[in-house]
């Protein structure tokens, strides 16, 4: 699953996330944006999010309410971007054992996943610095706190 499929380049001159999100995944599933529901989890195979560095890829998924992505592996820029926009990403070798319609419970701090279908899996939790970014809802919020207090008023 590459980032051109998640959100095609032809729409990227649109910086309004809610209208952009209506095009998410449309080249493979034109109904995706209408069918996806708040709290849904995307389950995928290897190299999820390969290709372009477009941050709009995790952003549109988050905009549509996707709560997390569980994949066998992620492409590195997508992985970074997802964390930076506050969308949890979980590497799980057994992702293919999750079934459509399962309910999944993910503990990012402990690094564990369990599904209503009976899958119990563990994954190495993120380094604390990255967990902190996720907890704050993304890098923008995390940096807001860091930048405010230490920036002297230059009077400009």
């Amino acid at each position: 699953m590459n980032t051109d499929l998640i959100i095609p380049g032809r729409y990227l001159d649109n910086y309004d996330m809610s209208s952009l999100a209506q095009h998410a995944m449309e080249d493979i599933d034109p109904c995706f944006a209408t069918n996806v529901k708040e709290g849904d989890v995307i389950v995928a195979g290897r190299n999820f999010g390969c290709g372009s560095s477009r941050e709009q890829a995790p952003l549109v998924l988050k905009e549509l309410g996707v709560a997390a992505i569980v994949a066998e592996s992620f492409a590195r820029i997508f992985y970074r971007n997802a964390i930076n926009v506050g969308l949890p990403v979980v590497v799980c070798a057994d992702a293919s054992r999750l079934e459509d319609g399962d309910t999944v419970e993910i503990d990012l701090v402990a690094g564990s996943l369990r599904s209503s279908g009976g899958l119990v899996a563990e994954f190495p939790p993120l380094p604390s610095k990255l967990l902190e970014i996720l907890e704050k809802g993304g890098l923008v919020n995390a940096l807001k706190e860091r930048l405010r207090p230490c920036r002297p008023d230059t009077g400009q």
């Binding site: 032809r10 493979i28 190299n47 941050e55 820029i77 930076n84 993304g138």
Partner: protein, 417 residues
Amino acid sequence: MSGRSFAQKALSRASGCDAAVGDTVVAKVDLAMSHENAALVSSKFREMGAERIWDPAKVVLVFDHRMPANTVSAAEGHRKVRLFAEEEGIESFYRHGEGICHQVLPEMGHVRSGELIVGSDSHTTTYGAFGAFATGIGATEMAAVWATGELWFRVPETLRLSIEGRLPEGCMSKDVILKAIGELGADGADYCCVEYVGGAVDGMSVSSRMVMCNMAVEMGAKAGVCFPDDKTRRYLGERGSGGEELFSDEDSAQHCHSMDVSGLVPQVAAPHSVDNVLPADELSDVSVDQAVLGSCTNGRLEDLRAAASLLKGRRVSAATRLIVVPASRETALRAMEDGTMRTLMEAGAIVTNPGCGPCLGAHQGLLAAGETAVATTNRNFRGRMGSPEAEVYLASPLTVAASAVTGRITDPREVMR
């Protein structure tokens, strides 16, 4: 294993600590590049409450993806970035069609060996051809870099790709990298820094090495590098650049892969993934509606000349449109001076302004449903160059030129003979 890899040395230099593989370090960025997505970066920058760019001299902006603007919203995006650059005093701002970011930065002397370069574009890996550690990041991260000048990096494992042998006639570095991606897979170098070494790489021009590093990301790599030699030094010297040369220790790679290119034949990546690689002559029944010569992979003078050498005295097939997009203004000018452009146009090529062109399906030269393109670009994902019902094959400039002549995918040796 005791030696230190290029990635370790580069990230140690930038972070000021002795970085081991797998460590997460906070490193100081030497150069930060953005293109049109600076519009998104600047919004995030303001949202963070940042007031000033940490060092405006280290930020480079290039308009290339939608230049000149092809939609009103692209024009609005450009305008927003222009205002921001003015407010922030960003002087290295190439905004009037100078070319594709990954070509303009080295040409204008911004790329230096050994430095840590980030770009809000995945093909930032291209600058590895000059011995820099260069990698793509997202827009929010770029905003963080603009605000603080630093970013976290995991020190990657190294995949050493030894490429020996002499490239046979009809083959270019694009064929080598396509073959490598075919062998290793689209995630074969995930998170790694790929070091391209060996006689075949030594024999390549700087432009050819840029092709190799450009496409490192198509096998999942974080960075790709060709170690500096006299050719690198000459290129950088001519652009008033230089830098600190960093080399890997002999025994520092975690993974190794070897290839011998002496028997290589022209390669093509078939839809819809870059690792779906076949010899060109196995695809000779695929007819071609559009042939594209350009992009940050293969839009340089060497590529235009290779195509022109094949097209000289020949005509592009009536069934095919050949679109040539020079990688930069300098490339276009030099191709005019030496007659390359004339040859291409006489053969029937449509020449557009320097930039990304149809590569990502956002500017001119898009495909209709059911159409097929063969392109020197770097991605053939579904919907990448226009309609999701179109198909894109990736190949070298020689293969694209040969296919433009015959109107079907063609091994260039068939036409050259």
